[in-house]
């Protein structure tokens, strides 16, 4: 579903990605772990073209992304790709001038061109699924962080994407709110949704991940099942990382 190979990217003198490669199969929940500043978020944002990269290849469901700056001709490709790959941000980024329902309807209407009725129908089902049907007419700022992130997940799901990218979805939340968001994500993973997650939540990794990728200094240094990576890490850097996170 998602194939990344030998990705490099630099911000000025800093090399953020140094030949990162990984693959996410359909139905898989892939979790990327690693120290802050290791390039995890950048890698994730390259997958739906929010970031450019300097060399390497990315292919998502048959659509290839080119290295180098974005050009106008590729915009259609990027839009097509993004409609198939949803994204959930650390800071939620709900649209403050819309209600909760309108936030969830915005992708189907403004990106997919669905009718208002159809979009409303999707929004109703999804808000029920994330447990926020009663908040449909509320505004984002009246919701807790955990509730906002659940709305953001519903908004990403409303496009019925083939894969969803999660960029540290619980880092801005307290433990209780973290639990409610991870519960929704675990439910999604169990239902076979393809997911690529950047996270520090080791409990979630253990319970829900199909594969774990360890990213250090712009490279994936170790990949495997949660048991393989968490219980018998091969690389000393992975061991150091796990010691720090206390799992």
């Amino acid at each position: 579903m998602i194939a990344i190979s030998n990705l490099t990217k630099r911000y000025g003198p800093t090399e953020v990605l140094r030949g990162a490669s990984l693959e996410v199969r359909r139905g898989e929940t892939a979790v990327v772990i690693g120290a802050s500043g290791g390039g995890k978020s950048t890698l994730l944002r390259c997958v739906n073209a929010l970031e450019t990269f300097d060399s390497g290849t990315i292919e998502v469901g048959g659509i290839g992304l080119h290295p180098g700056p974005h050009s106008g001709e590729d915009e259609a490709d990027r839009k097509r790709l993004r409609r198939r790959v949803g994204m959930v941000f650390q800071q939620f980024h709900l649209f403050p001038h819309f209600t909760i329902r309108q936030n969830v309807m915005s992708g189907p209407i403004y990106a997919l061109g669905l009718s208002v009725e159809e979009a409303a129908c999707r929004a109703k089902a999804l808000l029920e699924r994330v447990g926020l049907a009663d908040k449909a007419d509320a505004r984002p700022e009246t919701l807790s962080g955990g509730q906002q992130q659940r709305v953001a997940i519903a908004r990403a799901l409303a496009n019925e994407p083939e894969a969803i990218l999660f960029d540290e979805p619980t880092s801005a939340l307290d433990p209780r709110m973290t639990r409610e968001v991870l519960a929704v994500m675990a439910d999604l993973a169990a239902s076979g949704q393809t997911m690529m997650v950047v996270s520090h939540a080791m409990g979630f990794v253990r319970r829900s991940a199909s594969r774990v990728h360890v990213m250090v200094d712009g490279r994936i240094i170790e990949s495997g099942t949660p048991e393989q990576v968490l219980d018998s890490p091969q690389s000393p850097q992975t061991r150091a990382l796990l010691a720090e996170t206390g799992d």
Binding site: N48, L50, E75, R78, K79, R80, R82, R83, G86, M87, F89, Q91, H93, L94, F95, P96, H97, F98, T99, Q102, M105, S106, G107, I109, Y110, A111, L112, G113, S115, V116, A119, D137, R139, R155, A156, N159
Partner: protein, 503 residues
């Protein structure tokens, strides 16, 4: 209480203390301060081409002649033509000496001297224009059309034209004489009616090139000087000096130097301006007389603002979006546009659009269209900056979230970014809207008479200055206050819930 009485007493005495008799003041200081406007131009008072710091003109020589007769020096005071009576009344100048025609309104407000010149009005048109042969033709245009005529705002020509033709001509009132001539030459107007001295003076100068005298002079009236009401001693001294200059031919000599002498002037020796003003309206009567014309010009103010501001907002938004999301080179050009427009006065921009463009492009704009365009362009630069601030205040995550959902950049802007920015920019845009209401007054430089210009012209010709000023102030308030209310409502409404997403 005694203190209050003392203060009251002081105020009642003070004007008397300050207002020493004008003639005594002239003698004590050794100067006669006379007020005029160089913008009116030749042959009255205009900058010496050889030394622009100096003024020359027949009125300069006349002022020197008067000063000499009073045994003092003449000192020129520059002020806007229409505001000269205010400077007279606040004691800045002793006498207004600048082609002021004797009118009942002015005679009621100020004290007139005897006439120093008998003027007539001359119609000027383009040399190749065969349609108008006499002044009377102006009032009878062919096929129900209307001739467009430029005149000096608030002048006798403007009044004469209105009295003679009424609404059968479209009259445009300018601040300076040569501006009206230029716009006839460039085809914006069909003709201009000028005081004969002006027509003669500019006929052979570049400003008058391409124009011809149409028919014999029309109308007739007196140029008089004005001193403050009650200053009979100064008026008498000036009259005596004038009488002796008329009888010994010194006045004629001055007029001959400027080619102003003609047979009509023979009557100067026996002419006397009606010293008493006509029955002037004051109080409620003034409101009834001047109210309608002020309301009409307030309508022009509303038209200019309501037409130009939405345009400015649209252009400003387009400029900012192109700067932000368009190609780099376009962005740099637009930033230059914003800086040039913001960095130059709107008056200059109006001049360029209205006076210079016809010379370059060969096509003139209607003054109202030019005014709307000028204001819209000027304000577009400010609106672009307002939108820049508004758009910058929207977190980048909003655009990323919209793009991540698969929206195109255009839809993301229209549905996600701009609606949020609009709410932020309502207060500054309202501010600009209110200030454009007041800035419309600048359009008088291109012959658009709106409320402020109308006020100036009326105040210059009436003694009911207080009434006219109060009405003008109220009209401005009546226009800008509802705007604030509407803007506040809009802000409140946008902060509320949009009922549903519409595609």
């Amino acid at each position: 209480m005694p203190a209050a009485l003392a203060v009251a007493a002081m105020f009642s005495i003070m004007p008397a203390l300050i207002r020493a008799d004008a003639l005594d003041d002239v003698r004590r200081r050794g100067v006669l301060v006379w007020g005029a406007d160089q913008e009116g131009g030749g042959p009255f008072v205009y900058p010496d081409p050889a030394d622009p710091d100096r003024v020359i003109g027949f009125e300069v020589e006349l002022a020197e002649l008067l000063a000499q007769a009073l045994g003092v020096h003449a000192r020129f005071f520059q002020a806007d033509w229409t505001t000269l009576p205010e400077f007279l009344e606040n004691d800045t100048i002793h006498v207004v000496l600048n082609g002021y025609e004797s009118t009942p309104g002015r005679n009621a407000r100020m004290l007139s001297t005897r006439p120093y010149y008998i003027y007539q009005l001359q119609l000027l048109a383009r040399e190749d224009d065969q349609r108008i042969e006499r002044f009377e033709d102006l009032c009878n245009p062919p096929r129900g059309g209307r001739y467009s005529v430029g005149v000096l705002g608030g002048s006798a020509a403007a009044t004469f034209l209105g009295d003679s033709c009424g609404s059968a001509v479209a009259a445009y009132e300018y601040d300076g004489n040569t501006n009206a001539m230029a716009q006839v030459r460039s085809g914006v107007h069909d003709a201009t009616l000028q005081d004969l001295p002006i027509a003669v003076f500019y006929h052979r100068k570049p400003q008058g090139r391409g124009l011809k005298f149409v028919g014999p002079p029309v109308g007739r009236g007196y140029y008089v000087m004005y001193v403050r009401k009650g200053e009979t001693r100064l008026a008498e001294a000036i009259n005596a000096a004038l009488r002796s200059a008329i009888s010994d031919g010194r006045l004629r000599a001055i007029y001959e130097r400027y080619e102003l002498w003609n047979n009509a002037q023979e009557a100067l020796a026996s002419a006397s301006a009606e010293s008493a003003g006509a029955q002037e309206a004051t109080g409620l009567a003034a409101v009834r007389r001047y109210g309608p014309v002020l309301v009409r010009s307030a309508g022009m103010t509303v038209l200019l603002s309501l037409a130009s501001m939405p345009l400015a907002m649209a252009i400003g938004l387009a400029v900012e979006l192109a700067r932000r999301y368009g190609p780099k080179i376009l962005g740099r050009m637009l930033t230059l546009y914003v800086e040039v427009i913001r960095g130059t006065p709107v008056m200059l921009q109006l001049y360029v659009i209205y006076f210079l463009m016809p010379k370059v492009v060969g096509v003139g704009l209607n003054p109202i269209i030019a005014a709307i365009a000028g204001l819209a362009i000027n304000y577009s630069a400010y609106e672009a900056e307002v939108y820049r601030a508004g758009l910058s205040a929207i977190p980048t995550g909003q655009m990323e979230a919209a793009l991540a959902l698969g929206m195109s950049k255009a839809i993301a802007l229209r549905r996600i970014i701009i609606p949020q920015a609009v709410r932020l920019v309502i207060p500054p845009v309202t501010n600009d809207f209110i200030s454009v209401f007041k800035d419309t007054s600048i359009c008088s430089v291109i012959a658009v008479v709106e409320l402020t210009k109308q006020y100036n012209m009326l105040a210059n010709n009436t003694s009911a200055v207080l009434e006219v000023a109060a009405m003008t102030g109220l009209l401005y308030l009546a226009m800008s206050y509802p705007l604030s209310v509407v803007a506040r409502r809009a802000e409140a409404r946008l902060a509320g819930l949009p009922s549903r997403v519409t595609a």
